[in-house]
């Protein structure tokens, strides 16, 4: 069939020619795809606004030679519009979509878990369920875990010795016991380590009990962890504004 339908989230859009856009989407069924949306920059286009970044859409495409063409779009939820009036949330959402694109390097390779995580992360941001940087850090830790880089915040990341431990080392993969501890390890506060573990496992009660100081320290460690695993830095991460 030349025409197919899928559900997806718009990761980014780029201008093409006079009135068109190239839309990058993370879809439920086909992973990351890029498609051309014709005429969407004209003010008379109804699908233009539906294909803005963060939009959760039901989309119909027509197979093209290099890029597919968007033929129909129905909004499932206009998540971007709910975030653009809150700058800290919007900057956090930008990091999520950039990360989702970077962690799905192959086009058309199904990435069901990354997709589900992105949808729930953006919805949580848009619906203001928690502080934006908490949602972002939880998303980053889980997204890296899905990619195969699950950090350890309990037992020693090297030998598995029972935690809790005091030292944290990014290259070693998380918390390390006194024997395994490489030089240059950090010693974050025990509450920060508890927060990181809670964010990875989705224990929001524990996460919500933390103070700004621990949240800031956790964000720093998460950022370092992300940059360690991604070849190039995330461009949007330094632009995140804390609420």
């Amino acid at each position: 069939m030349a025409v197919y339908r899928d559900e997806g989230v718009v990761l980014r859009t780029q201008k093409l020619g006079e009135a068109d856009r190239i839309i990058t989407l993370l879809t439920r069924g086909r992973g990351r795809i890029r498609a051309v949306a014709r005429g969407v920059r004209k003010t008379t286009s109804r699908i233009g606004a539906r294909l803005e970044p963060f939009s959760h859409v039901d989309i119909q495409l027509y197979k093209g030679r290099s890029l597919d063409n968007v033929t129909q779009v129905e909004t499932i939820e206009a998540l971007g519009g709910q975030m653009s009036d809150d700058y800290p949330r919007w900057t956090a959402g930008n990091v999520m979509v950039e990360t989702a694109e970077r962690l799905t390097p192959e086009e058309r390779e199904p990435a069901v878990q990354q997709y589900a995580l992105l949808v729930s992360g953006l919805r949580s941001l848009a619906h203001r369920e928690h502080e934006p940087t908490l949602i972002l850090d939880a998303f980053l830790l889980r997204s890296l875990a899905i990619a195969g880089w699950s950090p350890s915040f309990g037992d020693c990341a090297r030998c598995g010795a029972d935690g809790p431990h005091r030292a944290f080392h990014i290259g070693a993969g998380g918390m390390v016991c006194p024997e395994c501890r490489p030089p240059g390890s950090a010693t974050p506060s025990p509450m920060t380590v508890a927060l990181l573990g809670a964010l990875l496992s989705g224990d929001w009660n524990t996460a919500e009990e933390t103070e700004a100081r621990e949240r800031r320290e956790a964000s720093g460690l998460v950022a370092a962890f992300v940059q360690w695993h991604l070849e190039r830095d995330l461009r949007s991460l330094p632009l995140v504004q804390r609420a």
């Binding site: 093409l16 606004a49 963060f54 519009g81 653009s84």
Partner: protein
Amino acid sequence: MYDGAVQDLIDELGRLPGVGPKSAQRIAFHILSADPADVEALATALRTVKEKVHFCAICGNIAESDTCRVCADPRRDTAIICVVEEPKDVIAIEKTREFRGRYHVLGGSINPIEGVGPDDLRIRELMQRLSDSTIAEVILATDPNLEGEATATYLARTIAPLGIAVSRLASGLPVGGDLEYADEVTLGRAFQGRRRLD
């Protein structure tokens, strides 16, 4: 791939916004077969625009002297500033004849994924202008897309402590259309921007 000069031209054209490799090739061959006088006129226009046209020292709009036509006009209201993304937005608003104040051109919108943050736009210059007590109102006229909205949000919260009135252009339904055909985002914003009918 073509020989030196032709390929250089294709490469240069291909770096222009909206010009893909195929279009670049088509334009290059058009130039090759065109009348030498026409090509000379194009080359002169390109050189002249870079030599003669600068950015206005006050607002960042394009200008043929230190300040642009709007900023140099003594009849313009200096108490109101309309913030836009690009010089072409100034032209669009001037055509409406609705606005009699001055402009501030940001040079784009905040776009974190492309690495464009507040420091990459002319926001510091805007804040400098606003520290002048004669300015009473700022109208945010960034594009009605997500980056434009977020940039307006950022500016509103940055300007708020100064106590200057800030408004955002209403982004409503396209004139001449039926309500049922409006997309959800536009309809949602039209609701947010509704005004009382007296």
